[in-house]
């Protein structure tokens, strides 16, 4: 007898079922997704004993006919696609035709369904995959009702690997919550062991759903963001830099309403928060991505949790930049209010400003960059901000340029290999407008910061036009200024490179070395001060490294830069080793806390701080300033109640 035997059909089906349904939560997810695909508006889920005793899913979707009822329980039977090409255009949850059939194999199931045109529904019983011969008539409201009993009764291995009741229940709750956020037009009721755990019914949009599920407090910490172009639309809500949670990767990511896990998006969000959150704290983000099915593949795994994007680099940059900008705009708003008022005023004086602009430009040229020495804190300037519009204009140009660069960059990125993404013509809706407005204001706003004095031993006291008290950490502020200066220097200058007398050799695993076969990569890193050459089959020889690098870090930094250039993903293209070194230098070069500053020095520091890209956080993510509003103080003194 041969050792290799064909498995019997029953075993094959059970194995396949295990792939999709590994716990009751998966079973419920599949069934709820079916209900959504059926166009249900109200979905009720009832479970008992973690779903092992009984799961009921009741919806008011289109329902199934008698014939469909029989077909639905067969493996690879689906109404959603008919040929493989349809996969690209899929917009329903399911398409593999596995779920219902799989669940039927490992439980005792009863399906009742009524379509709208009939006065009655049909009831079909399936016991461990054995379908009853005929369906009985059944009086019921229209829609589908599925009763699953004794889940996993014939797969003891699955049962054994279930976790505690609390864990399994919370997984179910978590899944329903996620689905409810994505489908904000459907009502969900979840009953666990007879008690209502979730009753989600708000219809005012996703933010209300999030508030309904996570509480108003979190809802108020969230910032909306949005980015749109021809190929995709990204929007969502993300926590402010004041929100502190220790839960890692607390990200709710949906692609075309489908819940997914995407490593690249997680990294992009983390990257966006890198300079805004201190060390151990993590943000919470709800991100909704809408894009044509041809740009991604969700058929990697039967549970469809993983998604592969056509161009990860573009997704990475867009997510990261959009969130980064949102955070920054929020910081600006937080620290210095009154933005709307000023914007309106400026709108009215638009023409005058243009004139003044010309004049000021002239003066600027004449003064030859002496404008920075203007006393921006003087009373005159404090009131008459219009005369200093040229600051903002200058800034606006700089800012617009940077957006153009960003667009140009995206336009070079191939989303689909043949077809270029035309992001340069993108309407960066809202994000751009809001941002532009804020930045326009930014320069003016800092002129409204008036230094009161020095709070021993580390903080500068100042206030803005709306009389908020602002405390600035002198060390953090100076650190941010130095960091950006050094980083700019590093990017703009020809990078000095020091030759190594004894060239270092890195031995690489063959699998990784394959990535670095292309000799172009060695040319590219040369402009960053690395002179490398492949040496033999799996050795890279380091002949020279950037001068800024500490000795001993050569190998680490080389591996990092190769990684960056082969993946094409990092925005800045500067290895972390070097960024850390720059951070360290900037920290050491900065004024130490407890240094006593004169008023002029403080004013100068504030002026320089607001010229940086992210004045509100030091490079390590600590805030550089905090504010107390007049209202807050009045409340504490019981001036207002």
């Amino acid at each position: 007898m041969s050792k290799i035997k064909l498995l019997n059909l029953d075993t094959i089906e059970k194995i396949a079922a295990g792939e999709v349904i590994d716990r009751p939560e998966a079973c419920i997810k599949e069934m709820v997704e079916n209900s959504i695909d059926a166009g249900a508006k109200n979905i009720t889920i009832e479970i008992e004993n973690m779903g092992l005793s009984s799961i009921k899913i009741i919806d008011d979707g289109i329902g199934l006919d008698k014939d469909d009822l029989f077909m639905a329980t067969k493996l690879h039977a689906t109404s959603k696609i008919s040929k493989i090409e349809d996969l690209e255009k899929i917009n329903t949850f399911g398409f593999r035709g596995e779920a219902l059939a799989s669940i039927a194999r490992i439980s005792n199931m009863e399906i009742r369904s009524r379509v709208l045109k009939n006065d009655f529904g049909y009831k079909l019983k399936i016991k461990a995959g054995n379908i009853d011969k005929d369906a009985e008539k059944q009086g019921m409201p229209f829609g589908t009702q599925i009763f699953i009993k004794d889940l996993f009764f014939n797969v003891p291995a699955r049962k054994k690997f279930l976790r505690s009741k609390n864990v399994e229940n919370s997984k179910i709750i978590d899944t329903i919550e996620k689905i409810a956020i994505s489908y904000d037009e459907i009502n969900f009721i979840l009953k666990i062991d007879g008690k209502i755990k979730l009753n989600i019914f708000s219809k005012e949009g996703k933010l209300f759903r999030i508030k309904e599920i996570f509480g108003k407090e979190l809802g108020n910490e969230l910032l909306p963001f949005e980015f749109q172009n021809e190929s995709f639309h990204i929007f969502g809500y993300t926590s402010t830099s004041e929100y502190r949670s220790s839960k890692k990767n607390n990200y709710y990511v949906f692609v075309n309403k489908r819940i997914i896990n995407s490593k690249i998006i997680n990294i992009a969000i983390n990257n966006a928060y890198k300079e805004s959150l201190v060390g151990a704290f993590c943000p919470i983000t709800f991100l909704f991505l809408e894009m044509s099915g041809e740009y991604f593949d969700c058929n990697i795994h039967p549970r469809k949790l993983d998604v592969r994007f056509m161009n990860e680099a573009a997704i990475f940059s867009i997510v990261s930049e959009t969130i980064k900008n949102t955070l920054r705009n929020n910081d600006i708003q937080n620290v210095i209010e009154n933005t709307v008022k000023i914007a309106e005023e400026r709108e009215n004086n638009n023409q005058n400003i243009e004139e003044i602009d010309e004049k000021q430009k002239y003066i600027t040229n004449k003064n030859n960059n002496k404008n920075l020495k203007l006393d921006i804190f003087s009373e005159r300037n404090f009131k008459n901000y219009k005369t200093k519009i040229y600051f903002s204009n200058e800034y606006r140009e700089k800012y617009l340029k940077s957006w153009q660069n960003l667009n140009a960059m995206f336009s070079n990125v191939d989303l689909k290999k043949e077809e270029k993404l035309k992001i340069s013509e993108t309407k960066i809706i809202e994000t751009k407008n809001i941002k532009n407005e804020f930045l326009f204001e930014e320069k003016e706003k800092k002129e409204f910061l008036k230094v009161i004095g020095f709070f021993p031993e580390k903080y500068i006291l100042a206030y803005n036009k709306s009389n908020d008290l602002i405390l600035i950490d002198e060390h953090a502020a100076d650190e941010r200024i130095n960091y950006e200066k050094l980083l700019d220097d590093f990017k703009n200058q020809k990078i000095l490179s020091k030759g190594l007398l004894f060239p270092l050799e890195i031995e690489m695993p063959f699998s990784i070395m394959d990535k670095y076969k292309n000799l172009d990569i060695y040319k590219k890193v040369e402009s960053f001060g690395y002179f490398l050459e492949p040496f033999g089959k799996n050795i890279i020889k380091i002949n020279a490294v950037p001068n800024i690098l500490d000795s001993g870090k050569e190998k680490e930094a080389t591996l990092e830069i190769l990684e960056i250039f082969s993946d094409n993903i990092n925005f800045d293209k500067i290895p972390n080793v070097i960024i850390e070194k720059i951070m360290m230098i900037s920290c050491k070069n900065s004024i130490k806390a407890k240094t006593i500053l004169s008023k002029e020095e403080m004013e100068n520091l504030i002026k320089k701080l607001f010229l940086t890209k992210n004045p509100y956080h030091c490079p390590h993510g600590r805030p550089t300033m905090i504010s107390f509003s007049q209202k807050e103080m009045d409340k504490k003194f019981f001036r207002i109640i």
């Binding site: 020809k494 000095l496 490179s497 020091k498 030759g499 004894f502 002179f531 001993g552």
Partner: protein, 368 residues
């Protein structure tokens, strides 16, 4: 033990020998003590931190023999306070120190608990022992120690390579960007081939001690993991770095195509001036009969300096870290130096003009 000695003699010996005992806190407290040991009718003072061991002798009137260890720091402080002859009497582990009307009684430890010591014997006529003038050795160290690497990851470079081959003693140091090689002829030929790496810390301590002793001939003896120096009555033993020094000969370039002879002082002061502007990189442009030294630092400014030289080969530009050039130029007092170059990213050789390859420095340029 009972000895009587003058403050000056005791202080001399203490300052020579106490370094290992007071240099660091050790979890074995006896390490912080000095060992008074009678050996061959002489009173020796020994201290060790297990890396470095120093032995010296004390001029003292010996009234009663015996061995004892005494806390080094306390003994030094007490000796400093004394103004005349000092009596040291040990009774079991108690040490009484007397001078004038003062009596100290401090706790020592038994000499039996002292860590076992390396072999401190050295016979000056042994065949595997080399000797040379103290000042020559000090000069050789000063010509190499500045290039020693401080990068802890590459520990074999954290010291000076001492190499003895036939009649030549060679010291080599490198930090991966420059290399210094200095060699000297010995009077006596040795049959052994020796290559050991002496840690930087040892070198620094050795220099201090060599300075304090008047004797002129330094004896050196080595084995696989130790090096022993003897000068006068003082013996200095150190562990050596366990590792293999990179093959330095391989990086000394030959067939260098360009050669320039420069005045050391002019070259040094031009480099110094340029380093005011940029500490990391200075450009040297060799034109016909002139050398232009320049540096630019964005946000600071620039400098250009011109030297007259004898140079008729093609125009040529190269950049160096000024520290490397200055370190070399400051380590010698010759009038002329020679600089041999090839391309702007290959290493160069810089050396005193007169000295026939006894001292060379190989420097990697900066890439520009």
């Amino acid at each position: 033990m009972h000895i009587k000695c003058s403050k000056k003699d005791l202080m001399n010996s203490l300052s020579m020998c106490s370094m290992p005992a007071i240099s660091n806190i050790n979890n074995n407290p006896i390490i912080n003590n000095l060992l008074f040991l009678f050996d061959n009718e002489k009173l020796n003072l020994i201290s060790t931190n297990l890396e470095i061991t120093i032995k010296t002798d004390i001029k003292a009137e010996i009234i009663e023999k015996g061995n004892i260890t005494i806390p080094a720091k306390k003994l030094i402080d007490i000796t400093k306070e004394a103004d005349e002859n000092i009596d040291i009497i040990s009774n079991e582990n108690k040490v009484n120190i007397k001078f004038g009307n003062s009596r100290f009684s401090i706790l020592g430890m038994s000499s039996d608990d002292y860590p076992s010591l390396p072999n401190l014997e050295l016979k000056e006529d042994d065949s595997d022992i080399i000797f040379l003038e103290k000042n020559i050795f000090i000069q050789m160290i000063k010509k190499t120690i500045y290039a020693v690497s401080t990068d802890r990851d590459r520990f074999v470079l954290n010291g000076i390579l001492l190499k003895i081959e036939n009649k030549t003693l060679t010291l080599v140091s490198t930090d991966g960007k420059r290399l210094c090689v200095v060699s000297s002829e010995l009077e006596k030929e040795t049959t052994n081939f020796i290559e050991i790496i002496i840690p930087t810390k040892t070198i620094n301590e050795l220099l201090k001690i060599l300075d304090k002793i008047n004797s002129n001939i330094l004896y050196i003896k080595t084995n696989d993991n130790q090096v022993l120096f003897k000068l006068g009555d003082t013996i200095f033993i150190s562990k050596v770095v366990d590792g293999k020094f990179p093959n330095y000969k391989q990086v000394i370039p030959n067939n260098l195509t360009k050669k320039v002879i420069l005045s050391r002082l002019e070259f040094l002061s031009a480099t110094k001036r340029a380093s005011i502007i940029n500490l990391d990189s200075i450009k040297y442009l060799f034109n016909e009969n002139k050398l232009i030294v320049s540096a630019i630092s964005p946000g600071v400014g620039e400098i250009e300096d011109e030297l007259k030289i004898d140079y008729t080969q093609e125009n040529f530009e190269i950049a160096y870290n000024p520290r490397y050039i200055m370190d070399f130029l400051e380590s010698i007092d010759d009038e002329k130096i020679s600089l041999e170059l090839d391309t702007s990213f290959n290493p160069c050789i810089i050396k005193p003009l007169k000295d026939d390859n006894n001292y060379i420095c190989v420097i990697m340029p900066m890439r520009i």
